[in-house]
């Protein structure tokens, strides 16, 4: 090959990679910047909040955090616990129901199986906004309005969960439940025995479910009225909307703390999450 041509190609390849790096770096900054701002703004006095630079605050000013946790604006601790309870309960119920239903749909034959499966899939396609009003009247009839259950129950059964666990259980060889049966397990025990084999899939689903439940805005907004029953994102949003003078520092401090559970869950579950996307089961 011509030497000049070769070096031209090398230069071109160099330019391409430099350009790619620049673009990616710009994107990374664009994504990271709001987070950094949020993290630092919580430690800045209100007067300095709208000036992102200097990025790092001069000394840690814990006044926003103190005022947030004291509950003088919103019952922050109470709402944080509400959110934690609602998201955890919903995750536990949704994962449990979906997992059991997926097992049944994948491993058993029964009448109207196809029809029921298609119906479940269709629920995925119906937007939340359409269901809010009927759900509200149901919860009213059940006398559950302004209780955590009005938020937990609508998310406790999901079409996506059924799809996910049916696919997962399709990949689990039939020989495993058959082995358990012939070794002497009751039918319910057989299901129990399969659970450790799909642990990555369970953890991955729970992670997504928890994150979605933690972020849910519409359903708690409609179902809950009293401030001490609100979830934390509605509480934080009320800071933004309700007052004449929006306490931005406080808001940023609240947002920072609110990110902790999902981040923690993600860090702890990441290994399983990756395994689930890889092979779904351990069998």
């Amino acid at each position: 090959m011509n030497r000049n041509l070769f070096s031209t190609m090398r230069v071109r390849a160099g330019i391409t990679s430099v350009a790619a790096t620049l673009v990616l770096a710009a994107l990374a900054v664009a994504f990271a910047f709001p987070f950094v701002w949020m993290l630092t703004a919580g430690f800045k006095p209100d007067s300095a909040i709208f000036n992102p630079f200097p990025l790092l605050p001069r000394g840690l000013d814990g006044r926003h955090y103190r005022s947030l946790l004291s509950g003088e604006w919103i019952p922050y601790q109470r709402q944080f616990l509400n959110s934690l309870f609602i998201a955890s309960a919903q995750t536990a119920l949704a994962t449990g129901f979906s997992c059991a239903a997926g097992y049944v749909f994948a491993k058993f034959d029964f009448r109207f199986k196809r029809t029921l499966f298609v119906m479940a899939v269709f629920t995925v396609l119906i937007p939340r906004q359409v269901m809010v009003l009927p759900l509200f009247t149901w919860m009213n009839d059940l006398k559950l309005l302004d209780t955590p259950w009005a938020v937990i129950l609508p998310g406790a059964a999901t079409g996506i969960g059924l799809l996910w666990f049916t696919a997962v259980y399709h990949r689990l060889p039939d020989a495993i439940p058959d082995m358990a049966r012939s070794e002497g397990a009751e039918e319910y025990r057989v299901f129990w025995i399969t659970l450790p084999l799909i642990k990555p899939a369970i953890v991955a689903f729970a992670l997504i479910q928890f994150t979605l439940a933690w972020q849910e805005h519409l359903i708690p907004l409609v179902m809950l009225f009293s401030p001490e029953r609100m979830t934390i994102n509605i509480g934080l949003a009320s800071l933004n909307a309700g007052s004449v003078r929006v306490p931005y520092g406080l808001l940023m401090a609240g947002c920072t703390l609110t990110l902790i559970p999902t981040t923690l869950f993600f860090v702890l579950a990441y290994r399983h999450f990756r395994a689930a996307l890889g092979k779904l089961t351990e069998a």
Binding site: I176, G184, E187
Partner: protein, 363 residues
């Protein structure tokens, strides 16, 4: 110990035109190992799954001694089932896997782990007790699965092709292990396989199944020497019996002669007496019954198309017109693909099959 008794067992899947298993009856004595062999889709696994209670039968009855198993859930049948695929639980150690059946039966942990260690010793896997299934070989996994089955002393053993996913050497080892178990434990055993060689080596008796219908049940030797029909003849043996389809003609002297495109020969007096003239019949010849012959006395001629060498012998595949057959020769043979070869045989050694099911004509 109790014997297995299967009566008129039948399985029809909804929407399937023919039953997966039809009118199947078999007695398996205690201490007897019956191998069930057939091509894929013959119904052998369906049969085993019905015995284990994993699939409901359409009709028929299964008994084990005095107990009627039909209708009982798998856990109450007290049978051990060994699968083709690996069924050790991946998150449990070998030790815990071995003790799994006892755990389900509520046996306390120290005593079940002690039994697991004892069985591991007899199976030669005691060094693997702490390992996870992913850390041991396929043969060791099946060995552990066998141990798990043995451990709770079931009333009968069912094997669903447990050796099929193993490499040749492992297969041999585990086969010996199963034979040892068979010597030691006097309970009925059913062994399903698609490998006729495995069936002949393991089975006290062998059942040949095809398309849901039992073709023959006999000792391995009987099955090999006197196959009940042309299907069994061609399925048993590696390669199976050579089959020649032809007709019976009458010679001028009154004796009968078999005529087919590749092979024609005069029947023995006994064969002549057993057969009506002018009927279509099938002649079966084992590869080892063929001998090399000069062109002058050869009854069969053809071109060698392939040579398969085994230890101490070889199999030649010969093409004669549209018909191909196999011949077993000693290791001192001299033939290469493309060679022309002539063959002869003892007419008394042939099997004759006639009628719609190509059933054996007994002489």
């Amino acid at each position: 110990m109790a014997a297995f008794s299967i009566r008129n067992l039948e399985k029809r899947y909804p929407g399937a035109p023919v039953p997966a298993l039809r009118d199947f009856s078999l007695e398996v004595g205690s201490g007897e190992l019956v191998a069930i062999v057939g091509p894929s889709g013959c119904g052998k696994s369906t049969l085993l799954r019905m015995l284990a209670g994993l699939e409901a039968e359409t009709a028929g009855e299964i008994r084990l001694g005095e107990r009627v198993l039909t209708g009982l859930p798998p856990k109450d049948r007290d049978l051990a089932l060994m699968f083709q695929s690996y069924t050790l639980l991946p998150h449990l150690s070998v030790e815990e896997n071995l003790a799994f059946g006892l755990k389900l039966r509520g046996e306390p942990r120290p005593s079940r782990l002690e039994k697991a260690r004892a069985i591991a010793k007899t199976l030669g896997i005691e060094s693997l007790l702490r390992r996870l299934p992913s850390e041991i070989s396929g043969g060791e996994r099946q060995r552990a699965a066998l141990g798990r089955a043995i451990l709770r002393s079931p009333a009968a053993f069912l094997f669903d092709e447990p050796l099929s996913s193993l490499d040749a050497q492992m297969r041999l080892q585990l086969r010996v292990e199963i034979q040892r178990l068979h010597q030691r434990v006097r309970v009925p055993m059913l062994f399903v396989t698609h490998d006729q060689g495995e069936a002949l080596t393991l089975g006290d008796r062998v059942v040949v199944l095809d398309r849901g219908v039992m073709q023959q049940v006999a000792s391995p030797e009987e099955l090999y020497r006197r196959p009940a029909n042309a299907f069994v003849a061609s399925f048993i043996g590696a390669p199976g019996m050579n089959l020649f389809k032809g007709r019976i003609e009458t010679n001028e002297n009154g004796s009968a002669r078999f005529v087919s495109p590749a092979l024609s020969y005069d029947l023995t007096p006994a064969q002549t007496a057993a057969i009506k003239p002018h009927t279509a019949i099938t002649v079966g010849l084992r590869p080892e019954h063929l001998r090399r012959a000069d062109a002058s006395e050869a009854l069969l001629r053809g071109e060698v198309t392939a040579v398969e060498r085994q230890a101490g012998q070889a199999t030649l595949y010969v093409q004669s017109g549209d018909v191909s057959f196999a011949a077993r020769v000693g290791e001192d043979f001299s033939a290469r693909p493309g060679d022309f070869s002539g063959w002869t045989f003892d007419p008394a050694a042939v099997s004759l099959f006639a009628g719609p099911g190509e059933t054996r004509i007994d002489l």
